[in-house]
Symmetry: C2
Subunit: 205 residues, 2 copies
DNA sequence: ATTTGATAAATTTGTTTAAAAAGTCAGGAA
DNA sequence: TTCCTGACTTTTTAAACAAATTTATCAAAT
């Protein structure tokens, strides 16, 4: 690991940071490689020296965001004492992540389907970690006798996460399919907290 | 009510039935007014005598489907004895409705957003009836002391319906955003039954 | 009041073209 | 050899236009 050049890694980071800012403020389709290069006072060609293409640059930024997210998630869930607080940690972490990076994801709205395969890998990793952490919390509570034994913990967590994901705002159900408007995130957050409370109670022994 | 002409209503029904078959088998965009007229051995112009335009014809068919659905829903929920079986009735009715009319809804996938306003009205009516029926079941169980009192029953049912709506298949989360493939409906149906069981238990006193 | 053939209007589909952005490369600098 | 650039080519996007299909209208017939 880390057999690479030091200077190279630093420059890669600078590119990633500049790209992140552009993507965050203007979205994927409205930022050009020329603009990113301009922000860094380097030539566009140099970007292609460090990254194969624009979509892979976006993927690299997203990968960094996802590891930050996963680390935060693991840290918070580990601090939690039971399944309910573990879910509350997951929901809060997810909420903050969406609020902080909302515009970054315009890439998703636009492309809707047929995103680069790497994106789905990353989403899969995040999901895998969520399930792992929450399954552990679930099993711990089962061992403590707080929760009724469950046939397949991972499937159960997966199902609950889907249910949480279905939460949306009451008014105007007829808008953008993709994902919620920024002004709705807080309402969704509160509803998820309410929902998970009922849910965990339903799982209790 | 029913101040209209008898013959006219019959013909309207025939048009609606022929249109339904076309929409169901080929979808909205792949059926032409000429084809519907052909099926009925009448001129296309006559269709416009009975319906203002193609989209309103689709809306009229959908309105008929929705009243059938609502009647079925009310009938089944009324037969149910408690909140859990009421939800099971709703889920089963919804499932059968989707299986039976799956292709009819390609109109939704294609247009995604910006559907005619009447469609959203109809969806609103369906949703309103679901909430009304299930809220009644909820309140009945609260009175019986089976379920813990709830601040706003309608909001609670709405939230649970959203949660049920979020259920999807485990594999291939990265496909069509719109709605699930026909081959996934059964799996979703089973998962919803599992979910609602936990949920209602979480609401119990 | 109903129905139709003929016709008009609108929408979709396909093509062309120009501009913009993505992506490449030979070669210079460190 | 590694890092970097200006100039270049290729691809994508957007607008404009025509052809074909479909929606929608209407005067006239039953």
């Amino acid at each position: 690991m880390s057999s690479g050049n030091e200077q190279q890694d630093i420059k890669r980071e600078r590119i990633l940071e500049a790209s992140y800012q552009r993507f965050l403020h203007y979205g994927y389709s409205k930022t050009t490689m020329n603009e990113i290069a301009g922000d860094l006072s380097m030539s566009k060609a140099l970007l292609y020296y460090y990254f194969p293409d624009k979509s892979q640059l976006y993927v690299a930024v997203m990968r960094k965001l996802s590891t930050d997210f996963i680390n935060m998630l693991i840290d918070r869930v580990r601090q939690s004492t039971d399944l309910l607080s573990a879910f509350q940690a997951q929901i809060a972490t997810h909420h903050e992540f969406m609020v902080n990076n909302y515009n970054f994801f315009d890439f998703f709205r636009l492309n809707e389907q047929n995103l680069p395969a790497e994106i789905w890998e990353i989403i899969g990793q995040i999901h895998h970690n969520e399930i792992e952490q929450l399954s552990n919390s679930l099993l711990r509570d089962v061992d403590k006798g707080l929760i009724k034994p469950v046939e397949d913990p991972a499937d159960m967590i997966d199902l609950i996460l889907d249910a949480l994901h279905g939460v949306k705002v009451r008014s105007m159900s007829h808008k953008k399919t993709g994902f919620p408007l920024k002004e709705h995130l807080d309402e969704i957050y509160q509803k998820r907290l309410l929902l998970i409370g009922i849910f965990v109670k339903g799982l209790s022994a």
